[in-house]
């Protein structure tokens, strides 16, 4: 009761702070800016907050907070556009939305999918805020209960979602997940700094690949290439009327799913160290597991949109707990948020353990500003969704160069090197092959995202547990098998068993017919070769850095066993078995263009960028693509190119970014944006 005696006045103060016209005005401004940035895949809260940072110095705290939170809150809302309409995961928060959202768009249900997503987002945000208002008072001791073994178990639970998303051949899903993990371990090991699959001669790989690049490469590029080859619009039929209202109704009839997924979002978001990267997958898995009829998942079930979207906005609220109460940022954007808060006013608000005691009113103001921003953002998004959904009716050859430009720009933000584009292209190629041979791309991505936490927490838990065991057997056991760990183990086991039993019914990426034997076998051999190389590369790490060796070796061993079993299965099965799934055979009639000529265009853009820099290469690419591939007149192509270049330059200029330079730029000094 005593707690409430302090909480209620603080809550009251918080609302008095928020509900001032100028504060609301700044909130709306932040929301609009956030929407504009979030719409572009790969750009999110970090880019947006960096943009605001210079203005924060000495700003009145509550106005500054309104501006920043308005921006951060709506990024997971607006990136839904890219996920649903283009099949591009706009950020790590909306990876799972792609699975059902994009098939809906293809069916002409884009507006419906979008509005269901937005309604779910809004609801998730509000549930998150309401939950936090109470929970934040008791959060500190609860969060501290999550020690390293608990964090490890949550990571493993996240990995167990692979079971549901593995596709028709479970082994392929497992190998795909292991491959994702191995790609995630590329670079310097976290423990001893040993290099995996990289050398210091190529510093790019030593830092590992970034999620933006892998996410775009594995999902976006294959979809764009596939659509381009068909040379039609994204949506293969006329849009159905009344779309957006349908979506809201869809959400309403699944409101309990939405509640549950929101709570999953807040709770996982609260735990520091995991961030939001697993939340949407866990929510998606939950939506699938609790649904009675699972046959439509992966080919456009609206519940597969509502689940992840409810959770990812709620997660933002949950993520405030480690940020505000511990001063430990849950994500990159939260880290900038912390340093921006310190710039506000006289610097009197100090994020960290003293926040609840000294600034409870500000804490509540932040929580409810977040909720309010969700409301404003959703209303704007729903209003816009009908119009934006029309993008799916444009002939794709006209949309694709533009999308490629944006994706390449987003990828380049990762490290600002030409290698970003090379990596994007390479991962894109892998994604195309995985899509073609029906290897689960979600499983790959889950593996990639969770590789770092899985390795880190395994090593740390092992080290700490060893120290506990030295003190006493009982102390060691108590540390490893805490009640939370046991509960998590049970949930994980259940989820794996249920998942495997149902995986056959759930085709996360639709059905695929089988073709000939040769191509799938070749791809499997290539994957096996890479895994074997990764195994060897990790196995030769010397003993003093063994902590960096154990994890990749273990994962590669599992993967190699999987590969061998797959090979045996392939030898025994005949050509029509699902294991030989090959999309080339299925899409043969629809495809107007060959894969390699389509890829050639993008390889050309890459090579030209390396030679003359991104902007010049892009100008040539846009011009030629529109003229030759899309078959438009020169005049049209010139105007298209001019618009594209102007657009990308404006964006880079606003965000203060440069473009990848090429060989030319190392000889000649050119003015921006050609530098």
């Amino acid at each position: 009761m005593e707690v409430f005696a302090t909480a209620l006045p603080a809550l009251n103060d918080a609302f008095a702070m928020i509900l001032q016209p100028h504060v609301l005005g700044f909130l709306v401004l932040g929301v609009v800016m956030g929407l504009c940035i979030g719409v572009f895949p790969g750009l999110g809260g970090i880019a947006g907050l960096s943009l605001l940072l210079p203005f924060m110095f000495g700003m009145e705290p509550v106005t500054g907070l309104a501006l920043m939170i308005g921006m951060v809150a709506v990024v997971p809302t607006s990136d839904t556009f890219a996920s649903v309409l283009m099949g591009i995961p706009g950020s790590s928060a909306s990876q799972a939305t792609v699975l059902d959202g994009f098939p809906m768009a293809k069916k002409g249900l884009a507006a419906r999918a979008l509005s269901a997503a937005f309604a779910a987002s809004l609801f998730g945000g509000l549930v998150g805020a309401a939950f936090l208002t109470v929970f934040i008072l008791a959060a500190r001791p609860i969060v501290l209960l999550f020690q390293t073994p608990e964090l490890l178990m949550i990571t493993i639970f996240g990995l167990s979602m692979v079971g549901i998303l593995a596709g028709r051949v479970a082994l392929k899903g497992l190998v795909a997940a292991c491959l994702g993990i191995l790609v995630g371990t590329i670079g310097e090991g976290a423990s001893s700094g040993a290099l995996r699959m990289s050398t210091y001669d190529m510093p790019y790989l030593a830092d590992g690949l970034k999620l933006v690049i892998v996410g775009l490469g594995i999902f976006a590029i294959p979809e764009i290439v596939a659509l381009l080859r068909r040379d039609k619009a994204i949506s293969d039929r006329a849009p159905l009327g009344g779309g957006w209202l349908e979506g809201v109704k869809d959400w309403w009839s699944n409101k309990w799913l939405s509640v549950r997924c929101s709570l999953i979002g807040v709770v996982v978001g609260v735990i520091p160290g995991l961030g939001g990267s697993v939340v949407d997958w866990i929510a998606y898995g939950h939506a699938v597991q609790t649904a009675r009829d699972k046959s439509e998942f992966g080919s456009g079930d609206v519940r597969g949109v509502i689940g992840p979207e409810s959770s990812n906005n709620a997660k933002e609220g949950g993520g405030l707990v480690p940020t505000l109460l511990f001063g430990i940022p849950g994500s990159g954007s939260m880290a900038i948020f912390i340093s921006a808060v310190a710039l506000l006013g006289t610097g009197s608000i100090e994020v960290g353990p003293s926040m609840l005691k000294n600034n409870l009113d500000f804490t509540y103001a932040i929580v409810w500003l977040l909720a309010l921003a969700n409301v404003v953002g959703t209303i704007i998004c729903i209003a816009a969704s009908g119009g934006i959904a029309r993008l799916t009716e444009i002939r794709f050859a006209l949309l694709a160069p533009f999308l490629f430009m944006i994706i390449a720009f987003a990828a380049f933000q990762s490290r600002q090197e030409i290698w970003d584009l090379v990596a994007l292209f390479g991962i894109g190629l892998l994604g195309i092959m995985m899509r073609r041979f029906d290897w689960s791309r979600p499983a790959f991505l889950i593996g990639f995202v969770l590789a770092a936490p899985a390795e880190r927490y395994t090593n740390q838990a092992y080290q700490i547990a060893a120290s506990r065991f030295r003190r006493g057997f009982e102390e060691g056991i108590d540390y490893i098998f805490s009640p939370i760990v046991i509960v998590l183990i049970i949930i994980t086991l259940l989820s794996v068993v249920i998942g495997l039993r149902q995986a056959r019914n759930i085709q996360a990426e639709g059905t695929v017919v089988s073709g000939t034997k040769r191509a799938p076998v070749l791809f499997l051999l290539a994957v096996t070769a890479y895994i074997a190389l990764a195994y060897w590369n990790a196995a030769v790490i010397p003993d003093f850095a063994r902590m960096d060796r154990v994890f990749p070796v273990f994962v590669a061993t599992v993967a190699l066993i999987g590969c061998v079993l797959l090979l045996i299965q392939m030898m025994r099965s005949d050509e029509t078995a699902p294991i030989f799934a090959d999309r080339e055979a299925e899409d043969a009639e629809d495809n107007v263009h060959s894969l390699w000529s389509t890829l050639g265009w993008f390889a050309g853009l890459l090579v030209a960028s390396a030679l003359v820099g991104f902007i010049l290469a892009l100008a040539g690419f846009l011009l030629l693509f529109i003229r030759i591939r899309a078959g438009k007149k020169w005049g049209y192509a010139v105007i298209y190119t001019a618009c594209g270049i102007a657009f990308i330059c404006t964006m880079a200029w606003t965000l203060n970014r440069d473009f990848p330079p090429g060989l030319l730029q190392s000889y000649v000094d050119l003015p921006w944006p050609l530098t």
């Binding site: 210091y200 430990i328 940022p329 990159g332 340093s339 600002q416």
Partner: protein, 367 residues
């Protein structure tokens, strides 16, 4: 960020600080940066301590420089800051619109002959050196076992766990300190920031930790008030003669030197002590520095030096910097040069000792 769209704001700032501007312009030895954009390169991500430090200074610097240029902080992270530093090494002075902010993590690989280092501090021109300190702390029960004057003998038999970012990073200083005190500390590597180390301590998984001063003030003080953590020692600060004295931010806390003197077996002279002191001097009293690239003319160096000096003369500087930077010297001019020299010119014996220690104790081979 936001190079061009900031200009209206810069204009507003120019109006408001017109007085400062006219004063400094009168000197005549300065370069005029009006209408330009100064790019401040930080070789870390947007989320680290160096980002906070640069973001603190950037708006102040914009006001203090002649012509009130826009100052934007840009980030070029990678390979523990060596990537950004290598890139800066390639740059030549053009018009004073590029500056670089280094940190202890840039200094240590340089000192330890890390193979990735292709930069040379002596080519650069230092215009600011910011110091900081560090505090080691323990859980209350372990702190209670310490002897007279913080003598570590009482806890020498304990099993210590410490969340560490890596033995070749700034963590080298506390790790070596604890070994000198005879503690049996096992570092758990792979944490992503010192905040994660504190969290590990709060969860009871780690039972020894240190934080730099500003994070100690904001993050650990509440734990001290709650009785779960007790500060043990600060690493101290350097006086004008290079002696270790009490940290001005924590005058009541003994320094590591005092603890070492109180603990049997820990010596404040000899090879090991010299190595520790050398790396402490490299990592803390001049942890973060601002440089102009190679070939900068005297006017440019003077311009930036005076600008940073002017920032510290602001009436409100003590107030606004206290929470963000702590009460540490922000050195310019000759003081900055001296600080840089002592931070980057470590005796060969000290380097050899640490390289050898890293290899034997942690199996880290730098080649």
């Amino acid at each position: 960020m936001l190079k061009k769209t900031l200009r209206p704001l810069a204009g507003a700032l120019a109006m408001s600080s017109a007085l400062v501007a006219t004063q400094t312009m009168a000197d005549g030895h300065q370069i005029d940066l009006s209408g330009k954009t100064v790019e401040w390169i930080i070789p870390f991500s947007e989320t680290g301590g160096s980002a906070k430090w640069a973001n603190f200074y950037a708006p102040l610097l914009s006001e203090a420089l002649p012509g009130n240029p826009t100052v934007v902080v840009t980030f070029n992270p990678g390979a523990g800051s060596t990537k950004g530093a290598n890139a800066f090494q390639q740059m030549e002075y053009e018009d004073g619109t590029t500056i670089f902010g280094s940190s202890g993590s840039t200094q240590f690989p340089y000192l330890l002959s890390d193979p990735r280092v292709r930069y040379e501090y002596r080519d650069w021109n230092v215009v600011l050196a910011s110091g900081t300190g560090g505090v080691a702390y323990l859980p209350a029960d372990l702190h209670g076992m310490l002897g007279e004057g913080g003598d570590a003998a009482g806890i020498a038999g304990e099993d210590f766990i410490y969340g560490s970012q890596g033995a070749t990073r700034l963590d080298l200083v506390p790790l070596l300190a604890w070994e000198m005190l005879g503690l049996n500390v096992e570092p758990v590597f792979g944490i992503e920031g010192r905040g994660d180390g504190r969290l590990m301590f709060e969860r009871g998984e780690a039972n020894i930790d240190y934080q730099t001063s500003s994070s100690f003030l904001s993050g650990v003080t509440p734990l001290v008030e709650a009785g779960t953590a007790v500060p043990w020692f600060s690493f101290g600060a350097l006086d004008a003669d290079g002696n270790i004295v009490r940290d001005p931010t924590f005058p009541d806390m003994p320094t590591f030197k005092e603890i070492c003197e109180a603990t049997e077996g820990c010596e404040t002279e000899g090879e090991r002590w010299d190595a520790w002191k050398a790396f402490f001097t490299a990592g803390f009293p001049a942890q973060k520095m601002v440089f102009l690239p190679a070939g900068a003319p005297e006017e440019a160096i003077t311009t930036f030096t005076e600008a940073f000096a002017a920032i510290q003369e602001r009436d409100d500087f003590a107030e606004i910097s206290q929470a963000r930077l702590g009460a540490y010297p922000q050195m310019t001019g000759e003081a900055a040069k001296t600080a840089m020299a002592s931070a980057t010119d470590v005796p060969q014996e000290a380097k050899d000792f640490v390289i050898n220690w890293l290899r034997e104790r942690y199996g880290v081979v730098l080649q």
